[in-house]
């Protein structure tokens, strides 16, 4: 095994464990912390794929900004296991059944797919220079449209907040 494979395995195991931690942990704050760790391991995967720019932006945007806001809300509401309203039983059953159904569908889908012969291709598209050139030449229209979409969402949030 090369170093890359070892790194991949370590990262993959940590990301699966922390992702499970997000769902399974009782306190919302430790869920958020697990999610932050998951984001870090995913950023590690990006680096393994030679996409440093994506990795760093992933950390800045998700771990550095969005999760801070999550933490913010959770800290303000001060969610505790004692203070949480008791969930009804049928809700739990419904959740288990729908989750199980999703699992069955996913397993079936993965079981039925045939993997074409995937080849590892060395690529530099994740480096900032190449990514910038592609975003601002080939994909300039979708890029600008999505940024306008974000802008309108922000304006909408401010309008709703001012009411």
């Amino acid at each position: 095994m090369g170093i890359q494979q070892i790194l991949f395995l370590v990262l993959a195991v940590i990301s699966v464990i922390t992702a499970l931690g997000v769902v399974l942990s009782k306190s919302p704050v430790s869920s958020v912390l697990c999610l932050i760790l998951t984001f870090f391991t995913i950023a590690g995967h990006y680096i393994l794929l030679n996409a440093q720019f994506l990795a760093v932006v992933h950390i800045i945007v998700y771990a550095g900004a969005i999760m801070v806001l999550f933490l913010f809300v959770i800290m303000f509401m001060n969610l505790n296991t004692e203070g949480e309203p008791h969930k009804r039983n049928w809700l739990k059953y419904a959740g288990a059944i729908s989750g199980g159904a999703l699992l069955v569908v996913l397993v079936a889908a993965i079981h039925d797919t045939t993997m074409p012969n995937l080849q590892a291709v060395p690529t530099d598209v994740g480096l900032i220079e190449n990514l910038g050139k592609i975003l601002f030449s080939t994909y300039v229209a979708p890029f600008e449209i999505s940024s306008i979409l974000f802008l309108s969402a922000m304006v909408g949030a401010v309008v709703v907040g001012k009411k």
């Binding site: 720019f53 932006v57 800045i60 801070v68 913010f72 800290m75 900032i128």
Partner: protein
């Protein structure tokens, strides 16, 4: 394979030595910044400052450190123990991580090998710093929340929103600089300034915005609302004692040191100084002189941090937010627009 491993060993040892040096240097500078701050405060307020421990009070930081180590460690009864300890550890860790991409000097030649005085020469250096800085919030937030104290929580929330708000203006002011230099690698940015004018000549407004944001990111006066004693009894580290408090205070000084180094590298030529290439000295001597030049710049910035702290009173919270969102961000956007326009105009000629 064996050859490659042998080669990697030398590389690894180089890097480990460099990392140890930079860490020791940051800790040492942070230590003596606490002494410097009290001396500067004394000088500004026309009193002596620390002068008992050692000549000129130079042993004062050691005495302070020793005192913090021997203080009783108190963990509040109703706090989250794990997060309570994680908070200051994260603050310290994040503060020490930023120094990895700063070029502390040019190249040293030892035994025919060229050693770059930069721990990690990555082509996204500026973004790396942003990533680490944006993680700095967690130290404050987790510590403040885990203390289970309403003043700490208020300070933590203040700190988080302040740091997130000022990151925007900081990023926008940096975009103008990056447009100018065409690289996110700090070493490239410094090398460009070595062969031309310093970036402060091209980006005076951008530098001013960056400076204000650096004060806010380090939560230094006039933006130290996270530890506003008169309103919050001491802020997010209210419940902390012993070395965990020391870590929080120390992390602030390391952050100050790193942001001074960053400002010196981005806007004031980093390790380059005028006439650097026409001295006719050997590479190693020039590199060491360059390191000295960088250090003088850093100390000048540290002095500025202290000078401002003992001169300007604290902002009110709404004033802080207004300054960030209503003034700095539009100014930074304007700066970006002007810079882009000028670059286009220059390319047209």
């Amino acid at each position: 394979m064996i050859m490659q491993i042998a080669f990697d060993y030398i590389f690894l040892i180089d890097k480990i030595v460099l990392i140890a040096c930079v860490l020791a240097l940051s800790l040492l500078v942070a230590m003596y910044s606490t002494w410097g701050e009290r001396k500067v405060a004394g000088w500004i307020q026309d009193r002596y400052g620390p002068n008992r421990a050692g000549p000129l009070g130079l042993l004062q930081p050691l005495a302070d450190g020793g005192k913090l180590f021997f203080k009783e460690e108190i963990i509040p009864a109703n706090s989250n123990r794990f997060l309570f300890i994680l908070g200051p550890s994260l603050a310290m860790l994040v503060a020490c991580m930023t120094s990895a991409v700063i070029p502390w000097g040019d190249i040293l030649e030892i035994g025919g090998r060229k050693i770059s005085l930069q721990i990690a020469e990555v082509n996204i250096g500026v973004l790396y710093i942003f990533g680490v800085v944006s993680l700095g919030v967690y130290g404050i937030m987790l510590g403040g929340w885990a203390s289970n104290n309403k003043f700490s929580l208020l300070a933590a929330v203040r700190g988080a929103s302040q740091i997130i708000s000022y990151e925007l203006a900081m990023g926008l002011s940096l975009i103008a600089l990056v447009m100018l230099s065409g690289s996110l690698n700090l070493k490239d940015i410094v090398e460009q300034q070595r062969h031309g004018l310093w970036n402060i000549c091209y980006q005076p407004l951008g530098f001013l915005i960056f400076l204000v944001c650096a004060f806010a990111e380090c939560t230094r006066t006039p933006f130290d609302l996270t530890e506003a004693d008169s309103e919050l009894n001491g802020g997010y580290h209210l419940e902390y004692s012993s070395m965990k408090l020391g870590f929080y205070l120390f992390a602030e000084y390391i952050n100050m040191f790193i942001s001074s180094a960053l400002m010196a590298s981005l806007y004031f030529g980093g390790y380059s100084f005028p006439g650097m290439d026409s001295l006719g000295l050997s590479t190693n001597v020039v590199t060491m002189l360059g390191f000295g030049a960088l250090f003088i710049k850093i100390i000048a910035f540290l002095f500025l941090f202290m000078w401002v702290r003992w001169t300007i009173p604290r902002f009110r919270y709404d004033q802080l937010m207004k300054l960030g969102w209503n003034m700095l961000i539009p100014l930074a956007l304007f700066n970006m627009l002007i810079t882009g326009g000028l670059i286009l105009w220059q390319q047209g000629h």
